[in-house]
Amino acid sequence: MADIVTVRDLRKSYPDGFQALNSVNLSIREGEILALLGANGAGKTTLISAICGIVNATSGTITVGGHDVITGYRAARRLIGLVPQEINLEPFEKVINTVRFSRGLFGFQRNEAHIEKVLRDLSLWDKKNSRINELSGGMKRRVLIAKALSHEPRVLFLDEPSAGVDVELRKDMWRVVERLRQDGVTIILTTHYIEEAEAIADRIAVIAKGEILLVEEKAALLQRLGKKQMVIHLQTPVRDIPMELERYNLDIGPDGSLIYYYDTRGKRTGITMLLSDLAAAGLTLRDVQTRQSSLEDIFVDLVQKDA
């Protein structure tokens, strides 16, 4: 697939010397869902803001749909929808008017059918004539999404969409994201909820201290960095690793079980050998569990390594 957003050597430093982005390179493929993972202050919002034109980059180039975001800002920005992290809405205006406003601002002719569809998809149609300040926090977030979708973006940025959102709305939002993906919309989502990235993203980019540490297919990332654990519960809990098993990569669990670490990428996992050696050592199995490391483990690992 072709790249729809490319970021080349992007830097952003502030007058006080703070380097928010440090030589960021990133290519986003058309139609994918990319999760940008990072801790608070890692540079996620700054990166998005530079792409959308809210922050002036210090150096580097950004193109969206082949248009430079500075020299070809009209063409580039017409493709972009942005759902900001903060709930920024005109409090006294009606829902439908703020959504119409967004469409017009982006240079699209009035299209009431499209506005209605967007509002219905986000369960906002019943609230269309409510003033923003009468809505709950979750509803306001939906309005922000409706505003961004009102101008039919090809690239949608969701900046921390699940911050302060209940489970129901989060699931609703994932459904909307899935529908957009089917329409071919490229979605970039920043989050520090790893489960969110794990649930909906195709690729994961990890950013820390203004640098992209890695960009990878989610599945490949999980596999590449994914270590597996096998927890072996024994009939009689042990305190020490038996001599016969010393050559295995084993730990003692808190309940006297054995924990075996292995790598799914390896040719052999060593499980068969271990089990027969267990029997030879006279240990009886009660239960066996395996666990794959989650994105969260990987993420914590990466960021710690970097720190």
């Binding site: 034109g53 009209r74 580039a76 409090p91």
Partner: protein, 253 residues
């Protein structure tokens, strides 16, 4: 040109105006009526005619200018300051709209509101005094240009202002004194010679003088200077706004 964007901003801003219609229109009409009662009826009855015009009628152009200038500055400054304050500015900055279009939307909306107020005050004036407008086309031209140019000034103030206090500061400390000292309620020929010279540095003098000329055919300074002053003022405001959007001053980090 993204005309749709201009229209979207204009419609959105006008919707705010109509939402607050009572506060927007009733309060200037009320305060102007008070001026007519105090200056026109109570004090004016003891003042001879000024340049052949009864004092009550003489102050009408000045009163309209007073409201229009203050309203233009405060409408336009609030119009752009509010999105900054509540954070909706992100949408303007990320929209495929140029600074010309964004400015046009906000300034046209602010100017429309002050024009409405100016005309309502003119209507109110007819209730209190007899006035005939000698040059109606020029009167409207002056009125519209003033609304636009001071809305531009307001727009700049709204972008510059970092808090509500600064937002009120310029209208209160600069615009109102300039209007009061700009010959709204008197002819500058009534001043001592030194003050007449100093007054010529006040841009509002040219506006009020030209506007009054369109009503009564008499003016403190020549009409050409008035037109030149408005044009110059408008150009300076446009240049400043151009610079603001180019550098992102107080808008883009």
């Amino acid at each position: 040109m993204n005309l749709t964007a201009i229209r979207a901003i204009y419609v959105f801003e006008m919707s705010r105006t109509f939402r607050t219609l009572v506060q927007s229109v009733v309060s200037p009409v009320l305060s102007t009526s008070l001026y007519f009662v105090v200056f026109g009826a109570a004090i004016g009855s003891r003042i001879e005619t000024v340049e052949g015009v009864s004092y009550g009628a003489f102050i009408v152009p000045g009163l309209i200018m007073l409201s229009v200038l203050v309203q233009s500055v405060s409408n336009a400054s609030f119009g752009i300051y509010f999105p900054k304050f509540i954070g909706t500015i992100y949408e303007l900055l990320s929209a495929p709209a140029s600074f010309v279009e964004i400015t046009a939307g906000y300034v046209l909306a602010a100017a429309t509101k002050s024009l409405m107020i100016g005309l309502v005050i003119l209507g109110t004036a007819y209730v209190f005094v007899d006035i005939t407008i000698l040059h109606p086309v020029w009167m409207l031209t002056f009125l519209v240009t003033t609304c636009l140019s001071f809305s531009l000034l307001g727009f700049i103030i709204g972008i510059w202002a970092g808090n509500f206090e600064q937002l009120q500061l310029v209208p209160l400390l600069i615009v109102t004194p300039l209007v009061f000292l700009g010959g709204s309620f008197y002819s500058i020929t009534m001043l001592p010679p030194v003050w007449q010279t100093i007054t010529l540095f006040n841009p509002v003098v040219y506006l009020v003088s030209g506007f009054r000329w369109s009503f009564f055919g008499t003016s403190d300074v020549s009409i050409g200077y008035s037109i030149g002053a408005i044009a110059l003022f408008t150009i300076v405001c446009l240049l400043i706004i151009g610079w603001i959007f180019k550098t992102g001053y107080r808008l883009r980090k």
